[in-house]
């Protein structure tokens, strides 16, 4: 008897809607705030946003980011200004996807996409270099890595994550969203959940 009691659960669940999905044939919709792998963005004119300031590396609690700056070649600048990110590496064996790097970035150069597939068979593949992280110079889309299985539209959700910290550290601050344009997309709308598109805080961004 006990034998059939055990099967009772099985039979009962047999007719219910399944929780699992047949990944990778089918993929779940991702939550709004999913932190996937990073991308390095470009301005609309194709210039890299990253200036090699290493603030992301400095704030990273997992010490997984390695950045080195260099003097921008004056006749063929890589990024606006004097400095550009010469080396940019993220070790995804260490990354905890906390997004502090995204918050720390003063130029919105690094954002997180919804791409979450990490499949590598050796340690050096786990270290994504600047070439892999940088969005395509023509379309502004992320580079598709061999193990990434994209569905339509997945690669477009690469930014829109808003900085939550006010310039002066005031907790009451609700940020005014002031995006810079991105290659291939222009100025993107912010994601939902915070202040929306209009300024509803009385704090201004720092004059620059």
């Amino acid at each position: 008897m006990g034998y059939f009691r055990g099967f009772a659960v099985t039979f009962r669940k047999l007719w219910e809607k399944r929780v699992t999905i047949p990944y990778p044939e089918q993929k779940r919709d991702k939550p709004e705030r999913l932190h996937g792998r990073h991308v390095l963005n470009r301005y609309e004119d194709g210039m890299e946003k990253c200036i090699g300031c290493e603030l992301c590396a400095g704030v990273c609690p997992a010490n997984c980011i390695y950045v080195r700056g260099a003097d921008n070649p004056p006749d063929d600048p890589v990024s606006p200004g004097e400095r550009f990110g010469f080396v940019y590496e993220i070790n995804y064996l260490r990354c905890i996807h906390c997004d502090l790097c995204v918050e720390a970035c003063p130029t919105e150069a690094i954002t997180e996409s919804k791409l979450f597939e990490f499949s590598f068979t050796n340690r050096s593949d786990a270290v994504y270099t600047k070439d892999e992280l940088m969005v395509d110079g023509e379309t502004g889309r992320p580079q598709q890595l061999p193990w990434e299985d994209w569905r339509d539209g997945e690669d477009t959700h690469t930014s829109g994550w808003m900085r939550a910290t006010s310039p002066s550290g005031s907790a009451a601050y609700v940020g005014k969203v002031s995006w810079s344009g991105e290659l291939g997309y222009g100025i993107r709308a912010p994601e939902q959940g915070r202040s929306g598109g209009e300024a509803n805080g009385d704090d201004e961004e720092e004059g620059s």
Partner: protein, 826 residues
């Protein structure tokens, strides 16, 4: 700093504080734990009150008023409020003004993360900017010289760099220009900030306006690791902070050691780290194979080859040259290996460009502080400190310009100190001793050595105290004035000064990194560690050392001569590039060719190393733990920060390994072991041990005492022939030396030398500037490029040593007391 007089009682934020008389309020507050924001104030420069950030409310009995605390000396009863509403508002207001035109490009800026403007804005500033207008714009960045970039947008006009250039370095080549909001720091158009000390302006800049090319965008402050160390570029022993990231040294910063460099560095000290990190560094031993080429090999093979060469060789046929750039510990290990195991005394750390070791040790020594005593008398009987000992030059200049010291020059050519000298006696090369005798009334009334008797006696009256009153300490800066003179010329003159001036002290200007450590630790003929001669020291070493040499050995030049004559079977070179550094190039060449097996320890494949049979890669100072001894005898720590390239090893370890292969145990397995042994064998080092050094890391520990004064036999100098030009060979800060040549930032700064004459002498030659003439010297006829130079004295000709252009080493004959050149008629 100033302990004279009574303390002044003031009140700071309700606390009673004792200030020193004459102390500035900002310093008194900081000393007692109240930090007042500041940008222009710098403890080593005079106050200017430029930035106004240090405004505090001060009541001196007339009611509280805002005053700049960096311009205000403490006075009794002063009531200071650094936290009042008014103070806060004033400080925040000043910061807001400073930020009006300061770009907020902190993420790009190299200073970001270690920026006083960032820090103080966070601590004292208004928090948010009300400024929305356009800031002022300049071209950014512009190079003010080869190594320093200036971003005028970031400049807050604190006057630190310009004050440093004017007040400390004496090269006022950068200056405020314009007025009001158009004020900028800049050089004169097309005239670069060509100062040997320009790197200091980068260090004192409180914002990112001045950046140094070697560090530009290399790292951020938060990924730098730092250790305090000592510079071994020259023998001043400036304290430095070695900063590295990812096992790569990125920056040297000056550290304020009160007794030594006051936080300043010359650019050579600051940027030399690039050489240590150069890809040409030797990382693996090399061995000359049967095919005659040097080929990489393992340590086992290389050491075996070296040991085989040293086995069963008559000690008299072994010579060890160099070692002046090693740490004290390595020097001791090598002295012990050479003298205690091999048994040779043909050991010399100097390469024929120094002074006799026993003579230097026997002189009464001065410290830098003693030489720079306010109101003291400084006699320069040596090279140009601005060219050879940069940080010492800054101390000397300060003493003369700001502290009322009197400077007397006895040099054959104008030096960097000439503009501040009270008397400059232009001594004909080789005749310094005659001039010094004339100073004290010896000799006739005829002009002697290029100087009139009246001039000489006026100087004599100053140094003997007759003209300026007693109790002014006299310090003689002693070193080789010219590499074209035998060392005896200054030795003889120094002895006369020693005999005539009561309580005179000497500050050695031997220049190579740790040459004074080498002398103290016996890496010189006739000496054993602890500044003792062979005979005197032998009983002490009997227990610890297997052998000690019987008689005084040959110095470097004598060893090279012996090698040229085929009397040296094994020549060991401890970082000695004899082909470049020995003044007599012909002798060096013949010596190297004539020597049997040449074993070279070095950082780079120098021309000398290329001629060696066994090459052992050594570690650079940033890769070695140990200590060095500066020109005062101050022992201070050199700290390892990064790992050496390849399998390079510290020099002491190589000595230990070689000894082991020869069946001897040096008893050294770490640098600290050396101090344990030294405390037994060397009484002058008894008060030093690693713990004591760690406690007194910044100022180091002085070693004093030494043997009795040695009086070498007087040198015979031939009289000057009116038709010849006496050669003067000096060094400039940047030359073709292996370290400078491998520093990207410095290599390009080395000048091209030409045979320089005094302008009227030059006019008499009848050659155009940059033309060529043929001169006859002791090495035969040589074709040289010539030019005029107002710093050269009449009747002399000048060359820079080890430079492109004319090779001075090809003109020098080491046995000659002086080199006289005659112009060969066309």
């Amino acid at each position: 700093m100033n302990d004279v007089g009574q303390s002044v009682e003031i009140t700071v934020d309700g606390r009673t504080v004792l200030a020193n008389p004459g102390e500035l309020l900002i310093d008194a507050c900081e000393r007692t734990g109240t930090y007042i924001p500041r940008f222009c104030h710098h403890p080593r420069m005079r106050p200017v009150g430029m930035c106004r950030s240090c405004l505090v409310e001060v009541d001196t009995g007339r009611g509280p008023a805002l005053q700049a605390s960096c311009m205000l000396e403490c006075s009794p009863g002063m009531q200071v409020d650094t936290e009042s509403e008014r103070t806060r508002k004033a400080q925040a207001g000043v910061l807001e003004f400073l930020l009006v035109n300061h770009p907020l490009d902190c993420p790009v800026c190299d200073k970001g993360g270690e920026c006083p403007l960032q820090d103080q804005t966070m601590a004292f500033g208004p928090g948010e900017s009300r400024f929305v207008e356009e800031k002022r714009h300049f071209e950014k960045p512009i190079p003010v010289n080869d190594n320093v970039f200036l971003d005028r947008e970031r400049c807050i006009l604190c006057d630190r760099c310009t004050r440093f250039a004017d007040e400390v370095a004496g090269d006022a080549l950068i200056h405020f220009q314009g007025r009001g909001s158009d004020t900028e720091v800049n050089t004169f158009p097309d005239e670069p900030f060509s100062s040997y000390f320009s790197g200091n302006t980068v260090q004192v800049c409180p914002v990112g306006a001045l950046t140094a090319a070697p560090y530009r965008f290399k790292a951020r402050p938060w990924d730098l690791e730092e250790v305090e160390s000592t510079s071994v570029v020259d023998s001043v022993g400036s304290r430095i902070a070695v900063q590295s990231s990812r096992d790569c040294v990125l920056r040297f910063q000056g550290v304020d050691a009160d007794a030594v460099n006051w936080g300043w560095l010359c650019d050579k000290e600051r940027f030399i780290f690039e050489a240590y990190d150069h890809e040409d560094r030797l990382g693996t031993p090399l061995l000359r194979g049967d095919d005659g080429d040097l080929a990489p090999t393992g340590w086992g093979e290389a050491l075996a080859a070296a040991a085989a060469a040293l086995t069963d060789v008559d000690p008299d046929r072994i010579a060890v040259l160099g070692g002046a750039r090693l740490t004290n510990e390595s020097q001791y290990a090598w002295t012990k290996f050479a003298k205690g195991v091999l048994g040779t005394d043909h050991v010399d750390a100097q390469l024929g460009d120094g002074l006799p070791a026993d003579f230097v040790l026997g002189l009464p020594r001065a410290t830098i502080d003693e030489a720079c005593t306010p109101g003291g008398i400084i006699v320069l009987l040596g090279p140009d400190p601005k060219e050879e000992l940069g940080s010492l030059y800054l101390r000397l200049r300060h003493a003369v310009v700001h502290d009322g010291a009197t400077l007397i020059e006895l040099t054959p050519r104008a030096t960097g100190l000439t503009p501040f000298a009270d008397h400059s006696l232009r001594v004909r090369p080789g005749e310094a001793v005659d001039v010094v005798r004339a100073m004290f009334g010896e000799g006739g009334t005829a002009p002697i050595g290029g100087v009139t008797v009246e001039e000489a006696q006026a100087v004599g009256a100053i140094v003997s105290g007759a003209a300026v009153g007693q109790n002014r300490p006299v310090t003689v800066l002693l070193g080789r004035q010219s590499l074209a003179e035998a060392p005896g010329t200054v030795v003889d003159a120094a002895l006369v000064l020693h005999d005539w001036i009561a309580d005179v002290r000497f500050l050695s200007m031997l220049r190579r990194g740790n040459v004074h450590g080498a002398l103290d630790l016996g890496l010189a003929p006739g000496l054993l560690p602890g500044r003792v001669g062979l005979d005197e020291g032998r009983p002490r070493f009997a227990a610890a050392w297997p052998t000690t040499p019987a008689t005084k050995g040959r110095d470097a030049l004598e060893s090279l001569r012996a090698a040229a004559d085929g009397e040296v079977d094994v020549l060991v070179l401890l970082g000695a590039d004899v082909l470049t550094d020995v003044p007599d190039h012909d002798l060096a060449r013949r010596g190297l060719e004539g020597a049997g097996t040449v074993i070279a320890l070095d950082l780079f494949a120098t021309p000398t190393v290329a001629a060696a049979d066994v090459v052992l890669p050594a570690t650079a100072p940033t890769e070695t733990d140990g200590t060095v001894t500066n020109l005062e005898g101050r022992v201070s720590i050199v700290a390892r920060k990064v790992t050496p390239p390849g399998t390079a090893r510290p020099d002491w370890m190589i000595a230990v390994e070689l000894a082991r292969r020869l069946g001897a145990d040096l008893g050294i397995s770490s640098p600290d072991d050396v101090w344990a042994e030294l405390s037994v064998v060397s009484p002058i080092h008894a008060h030093i041990d690693p713990e004591a050094l760690a406690v007194q890391a910044r100022e180091g520990i002085l070693v004093s005492g030494g043997p009795a004064l040695v009086r070498p036999a007087p040198l015979e100098v031939p009289s000057h022939d009116k038709n010849s030009y006496r050669l003067v060979v000096t060094r400039s800060m940047y030359d073709c030396g292996v370290l400078t040549a491998h520093s990207r930032s410095l290599a390009g700064l080395a000048p091209v030398t030409r045979l320089a004459f005094e302008p009227t002498d030059f006019a008499a030659l009848g050659v155009a500037e940059g033309g060529r003439i043929e001169v006859r010297g002791p090495r035969g006829n040589i074709d040289v490029v010539v030019g005029p130079d107002s710093r050269v004295t009449k009747g002399t000709a000048h060359l820079l040593f080890n430079q492109r252009g004319v090779s001075a080493g090809d003109l020098i004959e080491a046995t000659a007391a002086v080199i006289d050149l005659t112009v060969v008629p066309v």
